[in-house]
C-alpha cells in the first residue's frame, strides 16, 4: 500500500501550465536584467534608434573615413574616383556599382596591385560593401592605406544605398580580378 502523501494543488499542476508561467517569468527576468545592466554599463546600447539606419553617424564628418552618398555620386559622375567592391566575387557578379572593380578583402594581399595596376597612389579610391555594419569595406580601406594608397574613403552600406537611389549598377565579372 502506498505511503505517498496526498498531492497538493501545486503538485497537480501540469507541466504545460508550469511551462507557461515559468517561461514568462524567465523572459521577464531577462528583460529586467538586460535593461538594468545596459543602463549602468559605460558601453550600453541606445535602445531607441533615432538616426537613419542606413547611414552611419560618422559619415561626412571631418577626418572621417566615411563619405556621404552624395559625395560618392558626384565623384562617380565626374569619374574622379575608382570604386572598389570589397565583397566576395559571388556577390560582385550578382550586382555592383557600374564600373566598380572587384577587390575582395580576402584577396587584398594578392590582388591589389593587379586590380590597381593602372591607378596612381594618390588617386581617389572608394570602397564599399553591403550592410551598415559590414566591416569589409572599412578593413579594405585601412589595408589599402597601409599599402600606400592615401586617398581612400568608404561608402558605408554602399550597395544597398546605391541601389535605393537608383544609381547605375551592372552585373557580371567586368573589372573582376582574375
Amino acid at each position: 500500500m502506498s505511503d505517498e502523501p496526498a498531492t497538493s494543488v501545486k503538485e497537480k499542476e501540469t507541466p504545460g501550465r508550469r511551462m507557461l508561467w515559468q517561461s514568462g517569468v524567465l523572459i521577464v527576468f531577462a528583460i529586467i536584467t538586460g535593461l538594468l545592466i545596459n543602463q549602468v554599463r559605460t558601453d550600453g546600447l541606445a535602445l531607441v534608434a533615432t538616426a537613419d539606419p542606413d547611414v552611419s553617424n560618422e559619415e561626412g564628418a571631418a577626418g572621417s573615413l566615411l563619405l556621404t552618398l552624395e559625395e560618392a555620386r558626384r565623384l562617380f559622375i565626374e569619374k574622379e574616383a575608382v570604386f572598389l567592391d570589397a565583397r566576395s566575387p559571388k556577390y560582385y557578379e550578382k550586382g555592383h556599382l557600374a564600373g566598380a572593380r572587384s577587390l575582395p578583402l580576402e584577396a587584398v594581399e594578392t590582388k591589389t596591385f593587379e586590380v590597381l595596376a593602372d591607378v596612381p597612389r594618390d588617386a581617389a579610391l572608394i570602397t564599399y560593401c553591403d550592410g551598415k555594419n559590414c566591416v569589409l569595406a572599412k578593413r579594405l580601406a585601412t589595408t589599402l592605406r597601409e599599402m600606400g594608397f592615401q586617398n581612400v574613403r568608404v561608402l558605408a552600406n554602399g550597395w544597398t544605398r546605391w541601389v535605393k537611389m537608383g544609381l547605375p549598377t551592372e552585373k557580371g565579372s567586368t573589372g573582376n580580378a582574375s
Binding site: 500500500m1 505511503d3 505517498e4 498531492t7 503538485e11 501540469t14 507541466p15 504545460g16 508550469r18 511551462m19 507557461l20 508561467w21 515559468q22 517561461s23 514568462g24 517569468v25 524567465l26 523572459i27 527576468f29 531577462a30 528583460i31 536584467t33 538586460g34 535593461l35 545592466i37 545596459n38 558601453d43 550600453g44 546600447l45 541606445a46 535602445l47 531607441v48 534608434a49 539606419p53 566576395s88 559571388k90 556577390y91 575582395p104 578583402l105 580576402e106 550592410g131 551598415k132 555594419n133 559590414c134 566591416v135 569589409l136 578593413r139
Partner: protein, 182 residues
Amino acid sequence: MEKNQDRKPKKLDNPGQEGFVSSCMIKDTQGRYGIRPLFITARLLLGIVFLYASFDKILHPAAFADVIVNYRILPDVMANLTAVVLPWLEFFLGMALLIGFWLPGAVFLCNLLLITFLGTLLFNLARGLDVYCGCFDTTIRDGSHAPMAWYVIRDGLFLVPGFYLFLHTFILKRKQDRTGLS
C-alpha cells in the same frame, strides 16, 4: 511498515506500456524512473552550451547587435533591444538547466530558441546571405569563417538533447501522470 528490499530499478512490465519510449523507462517499486543519468547529461550539456553562448554576447552587446543586423531578419530598430535582452535569457536558461530549476519553462524556451536560431540560419542559407554565425563569438570576420552549413549542422545537433529534454519533461511525464505514478 513495509520494507523496500528492492533498491534496483527494474524493467517496466505494465501492459499498455510497450514501445520504444517505454522500453527506455525503468522504474523501481517506489515508482521512480531510472533514466536520470541520460536526463542529467542532456541538461548539463545544454546548460553549458547556453551559458557559454551568453558570455561573449553579454560582454560585447554592440558586436552582437551588428551580428543581428547582418542576419537581416529583425528590423534594425529591434537589433539593440534584442542584443541587450537575449544574452541574459540565454544565461538564465543555462543556469536553470544546470541547477535543475524551473525545467518545464527552461526546456521549452531552450528548444524555442534553438529552433529559431536554426531556422534563421537555414533561411539565410537558402537566400544566399553570407552571414557569420554570431552564436559563440560576436567578432564579425572578414569572410574567412567556416561555411554556414557547419553552423546549421552544429545547431541541429544541439536540438538532440533539447528534444530529449522536452520529451522527458512533457511527454514522459504525462505518461507517468496517466499511470498514476507520481
